[in-house]
Symmetry: D3
Subunit: 136 residues, 6 copies
């Protein structure tokens, strides 16, 4: 079994808050991340897939196909967007990196399976000090 990781990046705005909480409650739990006028990040995304290298060409999966799937399913929908307002796969979810990792997993699992590999891990770095991993 071989693990192949592709890195992509996206720059998005977001805000952490719950509609059913007052501003004070949101501020208390989410602190400066709850700022009503938004803030944003250069998110770094690592998509790790696993599989046997093909005897035909020696790849787990052609990295250009993997790259196209990630661009179509994730980056084109979230890069230079507002995660709370515009990203279809984050609708009705609090915009934490935890929830983002699960949502991106759900976007990528099937298209990668169709290509004959398995999704293994979604890793997202929000800042150089904070990151999230999800293994399904």
């Amino acid at each position: 079994m071989i693990y192949l990781t592709r890195r992509e990046r996206f720059c998005s705005a977001h805000r952490m808050f719950r509609k059913d909480w007052s501003d004070e409650e949101n501020q208390k739990v989410f602190g400066k991340c709850s700022n009503p006028n938004w803030h944003g990040h250069n998110y770094v995304l690592w998509v790790t897939i696993k599989g046997e290298p093909s005897p035909e060409h020696g790849f787990v999966m052609n990295i250009n196909i993997l790259k196209q799937i990630i661009l179509e399913k994730v980056i084109s929908k979230i890069d230079h967007k507002n995660i709370n307002l515009e990203v279809p796969f984050m609708k009705e979810r609090i915009a934490t990196t935890e929830n983002l990792a699960v949502a991106i997993w759900n976007e990528l699992e099937l298209p990668i399976k169709i290509e004959g590999a398995s999704l293994h891990c979604i890793k997202i770095e929000e800042t150089e000090n904070n990151s999230i991993e999800y293994y399904g």
Copy 2:
């Protein structure tokens, strides 16, 4: 002459656009950076000062004092904020990294002078591929 550089970071939302242009004109010049719902970045800021090391303590300037000046004058006003809407020193300026570098220079030049050193360069990295330097 010695050059001392302090790195700080801030995560902010912004949008590039001119109020006096139509959405089409903004989109044509600024592309995806003009998205009306904002996007954001992990900005990295390098502040370089210059001076003679003090014979008393061997520093150009005590780095803790430099750090405090940058936190007070810049980071506390821009981190987790919306650059277009909330940052006093960016009022009435298009939110390009070029304009941001000049504005941060103007915030820091005097307080650093008062401490006996000279501001030499403001460098801002917007993404790992794009950065701006300003020398006054």
Copy 3:
């Protein structure tokens, strides 16, 4: 299950040696790392915890609480210190990165459990070429 990683850094002096060995024996096993006048490193520490994201706020654990635990239990006791002489949780241990990872695990396991998450991994980078991971 979601994995959340927080990065922190500390700058410390250390020396690798055993009191019950002669200088020649220490030099033979530990080489330049056994220098009696000490040397030091910019250690990088990654603390990974795991858990279910809370339906209430979408976090595995509020990252500010995790950060405070790491600062209180580890960084405040080891940053700008001598690992051999001054760090309570390294008393009577050889100051290898292996032993450091186990000792930091022991400091953090319980306070993280009290907050409702589980410690998953301690990773320490001593130089850009050498690192250690410990999973308990």
Copy 4:
């Protein structure tokens, strides 16, 4: 159980192709990576071993011994070489990073075992966006 990782680097030329395919077929599957005049990379290699820290010296394995094994078995044979033409452990294999990871595992597994530790993972980064992991 402790995991110890050593990073090494090598700069090599390669080309992805099958001798039994026409140039068009190679170009179709491998794209620009099939260029007949070669291209190359700064490969980064992480070798992770596992074991119990020795009560005698606190190491899983003396990192200088691990470094020497990697230099002798891998780096001296591949650095500043052509992976397709000159690297004995890549003979008759397509020069993908997947195959490279497996071949390097095979070179290192036994010498590390002889020193009393176990090889755990070979990770190779071909570019900052693409990497491979192999766990045996």
Copy 5:
């Protein structure tokens, strides 16, 4: 005056040698970099331009135009190529990073001038330890 830097990358094969020298002479001066079967690198290129930010849009130069110029004039001609054999602007030059920096300067100076800015610096990193800068 504002300085704007764009980073791009290319992966190429090369070899350092002079046709009019024997293999021994080439080996003596260029060492392992003279390997007749080539080796290669992940080159990192930083292109710095300078100018006044436009009062109209706040840019020194639209970064998308700069990116397109670099892709067309440099990256498309050198990425996944052999610098000695295939890169038109390196014909008849020894493939050192020094010569590469001068050649890339010559490719980019005029197209950047046509867009109203000035080329300031070409920086190329061959490995994480070695880099070259050229200011014209």
Copy 6:
């Protein structure tokens, strides 16, 4: 004129203090950096030289010669040492990075001149947030 930069690293212990000051005075000016039991860093050193590329071999200076000079004059004397106690070129100087940059300049200027190039800049990074440059 071409600028060539070589990066090297060293791991050392140090302490900032003046013998003619009381512990309280040292603590007040240097803070935690004055800890009597030392602390340490992974210092990163960039040595930049300038010159014309030789028409014979295309180098400003053979990087292996530059590397040997830096290893002999600087790294072998400071790596895994105590800067205050053991480094001959730092005797009687306060162990600030400012003073270190000047001292390393003095060690390297002449040997580089003898090889036909000129020393241009010494840059030292003490932590990822703090660095010093000296141009003679």
